[in-house]
Amino acid sequence: MSGPEPVVRTVNLVKIYQTGGVPVTAVDGVDLRVDPGEFVAIMGPSGSGKSTLVHMLGGLDTRTSGEIWLDGKRVDTLSESAWAVLRRDKVGFVFQFFNLVANMTVADNVELPALLSGATPRQARERREYLLGALGLAERADASPAQLAGGEQQRVALARALANKPSLLLADEPTGNLDSRNTRDVLRLLGEVHRDGQTIIMVTHDARVASLADRVVSLLDGQIVDDGAIPRPVRRPRGGAGDVVELRS
């Protein structure tokens, strides 16, 4: 393939779990290429391997075989620690259950990645103030995560994932645990971030959520069964999905 250097490229990526002696193939020979600025939704039924794929792309899980390239560098051979160091600058994660550090304030949660990647406390604070402000959470900086509603927590998680301007934002069912209003808010934010040029890979099983992306990759039993761009004009405002789409424009 030609064109710009892809942010992520995988070659025949395979993940086999050994559960109780029985090998279970979660990801089965996935070749995926994501270019800078793309917003890819990965869809599929439960157990199709979509979360495992995203975890491997972020180094949270190890691959069984195959290659992973991140920003033109092969990363599947990295150790756990090297992956961790890499994640500080290159990868941001948003999870289904928000996963904010419960003991730390909202501000601390957002500043943590910046501090980790070597920013001074002052720089970290400025970046945090900017992000929380942009996400409409400036006044909740000193609250503890438990005091926030689900949608607010996920917005904080998003702010934290974006703290270091990562090359790649990985979102694993970011709206899976939210009601429709909060889903709408979080999706709007993802859209805005994407419009600013952020590369995003998002796992979802919700077609309405997936319709926000530029491209939808469908997984079934660990294999890519469909990979296609969503043509912009093909938007059928219909029911709940319409709300989401309406807001984007």
């Binding site: 756990e80 961790a84 259950f97 419960a102």
Partner: protein, 758 residues
């Protein structure tokens, strides 16, 4: 560097979130270190004033009392002797103060202090020929009798003559132990003063101190001296006995503290490991999140070690300070602080223990897989057959569910049970010590103190004294007695020979082994004597009393709290008449319910203050400080137990926070949910408390007897705490545990947990 800042933020946030637990860890470690430092100080002898005194006074290692002027020149020629003190003339006198009489040895020393064994003056001045009535009093005697500088010092000599002297100085010496444990008391006067008080040379003795090149050769030198002076010798004592007499109680305390400290350290390490392990389990999701943000495995381990290790080290530091403070307070500033070596060893040892206890769970924390999506769930299992059966027989479901939960996590369950059992064992042992002290007080006859009062006839003739004693309504029985010094067979040292009662009417000793003496020539002994002479019951020993050889058959062992158990007791009729008549004192056994103080007052009044009546000091009174120590230790151990409990309770809650909604959905009332949660922790605590109490009860009397044996008092003193006390302790422990578990469980059961977070 960059990770440091992030780690610091996390640590600060985490500490803020669990202030109570952090404080508990610090306190528990500090308590243990305090106990260890205190015990090491006590064991190191730093608190034993002997060491300091001996150095300050350039003391003599061996002291020999002999009749007449012993030939000091010959003694000085003995191999290994580097210096000689004396010979000094010494005469027995009685110090009289408002009817109170104290036995004192008046010793003649020159106005210029000698080179070897010169008493150190603490107050006032040394003897001065310008003031022939001045007397310098040994400090413990002065303290016990309330003498101050300038106080009148009225003594009666053996001939009954009264002499008015005055206290010119108060001094300390390393030649004998403290009054009244070591009698007679000691006072120094000028030779001409002594000549005036006791002109008869036959009623005084010569005292010689020998300073040796090698302290270890004291026994050998003493033997040589005995050979030289033959039958003229009356008493021999070496520096070991003096040191032992000054340290006895400290040593016992030190051992007790050391035992508690070491076991407590293990318990504290368990508690810390349990706390950190529980914390790590609870935070596994946070660690996964941190890893997804870019923290490495090593950084997470490091962060945990730093956080929890710092708490432990803070505890160690506080404990070091606490140890210094406690030794200073308890020992009243006497003695030296613990030397650097042991302090460093204790600090390093506890720090290392704490760090290891922290490192293992921290390492596990670092290995948390970085996928934080699903909350880590406890291992699931089926209901056991036992649980099914329990449900079948309609035990409350909350109980069954809680019981099942208690063991789902095997490791933490074991840690919690042990963490409670170990402090409980030690608490039971502590209660055993307490019960032993109570036993001393309740049944003094078991420790050879059937008699509550000792009466010395003083000026009264024996017959008159006996008449007065017999007339008193409070007295059940009385036993004439004399305490004499007996030279042991090798004649290198003196043991106390106590002739008391007669073979027809023996003193009611309670023999722990063998039987009491019942015939002339039979004797009972304390463990210390048996060890010293290396004899056993049934053996014969030959001792020398006042120059007369005496052959005794040891027929029994009694508990002997005096003189490190180096006491031989037998009937007065076993003693040669010259040593036995008239009896030196009468031991009075009182009727049950008779108050010793009232009886004493009555006897004093009846005799017109001529009888000298003293209460027998119970060893438990001397050891009263042990009770304070026991209470303090129980507090520290309870803290450790509490720390374990909080961990278990928090872990249980965490495991079940998600089950709560399900349990409620299944139809359990909030109260049943609370009961389930409380049962989960309560069951482990109950197990731990039971195991700990059983273990403690089974070893406590054995341990105390072992200590009794080694200290010479003898086995047979150890008591198991009474069943009622144990039952109450267990109830309190379990009750407190349930209460601690109840509050968070109740709160959790009432809170609304969304099912969705599953």
């Amino acid at each position: 560097m960059s990770a440091l800042r992030a780690s610091r933020r996390w640590i600060r946030a985490d500490l803020r979130a669990r202030r109570g637990q952090a404080l508990l860890t610090v306190l528990a470690v500090a308590g243990i270190v305090t106990a260890l430092i205190t015990s090491a100080t006590l064991l190191e002898d730093g608190t034993n004033p002997w060491r300091g005194l001996f150095t300050q006074t350039d003391g003599a290692h061996v002291w020999i009392s002999a009749q007449d002027t012993a030939d000091a020149g010959k003694l000085a020629g003995l191999p290994g002797v580097t210096g000689v003190a004396g010979p000094y003339r010494s005469a027995p006198v009685t110090l009289v103060q408002d009817g109170k009489k104290s036995p004192v040895a008046l010793r003649a020393l020159p106005a210029t202090p000698p080179k070897v064994a010169h008493p150190v003056v603490r107050e006032g001045r040394w003897l001065d020929s310008a003031d022939p009535d001045g007397v310098v009093v040994e400090r413990s005697l002065a303290r016990a009798t309330g003498l101050r500088l300038g106080s009148p010092f009225t003594v009666t000599a053996l001939n009954g003559a009264r002499h008015e002297l005055a206290v010119a100085g108060i001094a300390e010496t390393a030649e004998q132990g403290f009054y009244p444990e070591w009698t007679p008391g000691l006072a120094w006067v000028l030779p001409e003063t002594l000549d005036r008080v006791e002109p008869a040379a036959g009623r005084s003795e010569s005292v010689i101190g020998l300073r040796l090149a090698d302290p270890e050769s004291a026994r050998l030198v003493a033997q040589g001296a005995v050979t030289l002076l033959a039958e003229k010798i009356q008493r021999v004592s070496t520096w070991r006995e003096v040191r032992a007499s000054m340290e006895l109680d400290n040593r016992l305390l030190g051992l007790l503290l050391a035992l508690f400290g070491v076991v407590g350290l293990v318990a504290a390490a368990l508690a810390v490991a349990n706390a950190v392990g529980g914390r790590v389990l609870m935070q596994s999701r946070d660690f996964a999140t941190l890893k997804s943000l870019g923290l490495t495995r090593g950084q997470i381990t490091g962060m945990l070690v730093v956080e929890h290790g710092a708490l432990g080290l803070l505890g160690v530091a506080l404990g070091l300070a606490g140890g210094q403070l406690v030794t200073m307070l308890v020992l009243d500033g006497a003695g030296l602080p613990l030397s650097l070596g042991p302090t460093a060893a204790i600090a390093a040892g506890t720090a290392a223990t704490v760090l290891v206890a922290v490192a293992v769970p921290a390492w596990r924390g670092g290995r948390t897989p970085p996928i934080p999506a699903a909350p880590a769930a406890p291992p699931r299992g089926h209901l056991s057959k036992l649980a099914r059966l329990a449900l079948l027989v309609r035990l409350p479901p909350a109980l069954v569910l809680g019981a099942r939960d208690a063991f789902t996590r095997r490791g933490p369950a074991l840690l919690t049970t042990f963490g409670v059992a170990i402090p409980m064992t030690m608490i039971t042992i502590g209660l055993g010590c307490w019960a032993t002290l109570d036993g001393f007080l309740d049944q003094p006859e078991r420790v050879g103190q059937a008699a509550a009062l000792t009466v010395r006839p003083g000026k009264l003739p024996a017959a008159e004294a006996e008449r007065l004693i017999k007339a008193d309504p409070g007295v059940a029985a009385y036993y004439p007695g004399s305490e004499v010094d007996a030279l042991e067979p090798e004649q290198t040292r003196t043991v106390l020979a106590r002739a008391i009662g007669t073979s027809a009417q023996p003193y009611p000793f309670v023999a722990v082994e063998g039987r009491g003496y019942a015939d002339r020539g039979e004797a009972v002994a304390g463990q210390g004597l048996l060890d010293l002479l290396d004899v056993k019951i049934g053996d014969r020993v030959r001792v020398t009393v006042g120059g007369t050889p005496l052959i005794l058959r040891i027929v029994g062992r009694v508990v002997e709290p005096d003189q490190d158990g180096e006491v031989l007791s037998f009937g007065l009729d076993s003693l040669a008449a010259k040593d036995a008549v008239p009896p030196e004192f009468y031991a009075l056994v009182l009727k049950p319910g008779a108050d010793p103080d009232e009886t004493r007052a009555r006897l004093l009044a009846a005799s017109g203050q001529d009888l000298e009546v003293t209460r027998v000091e119970n060893p438990a009174e001397r050891l009263a400080v042990i009770r304070v120590v026991i209470v303090a230790l129980i507090a520290v151990l309870a803290l450790i137990g509490l720390a374990n409990l909080l961990t278990a309770s928090a872990l249980g809650l965490r495991d079940h926070a998600l089950d709560l909604a399900v349990l409620k959905a299944m139809g359990l009332t909030p109260r049943q949910v609370t009961a389930t949660l409380v049962t989960g922790t309560g069951l482990l605590v109950l197990l731990g408390v039971l195991a700990g109490t059983l273990a403690g009860a089974s070893v406590s009397s054995g341990l105390i007897d072992l200590q009794g044996h080694t200290s010479g008092v003898g086995a047979g003193i150890g008591r198991t705490p009474p069943a009622a006390t144990l039952a109450v302790t267990m109830l309190v422990a379990v009750g407190a545990a349930l209460l601690v578990a109840l509050i968070p469980a109740h709160r959790a059961a009432r809170s609304r947990v969304p099912l969705a977070t599953r």
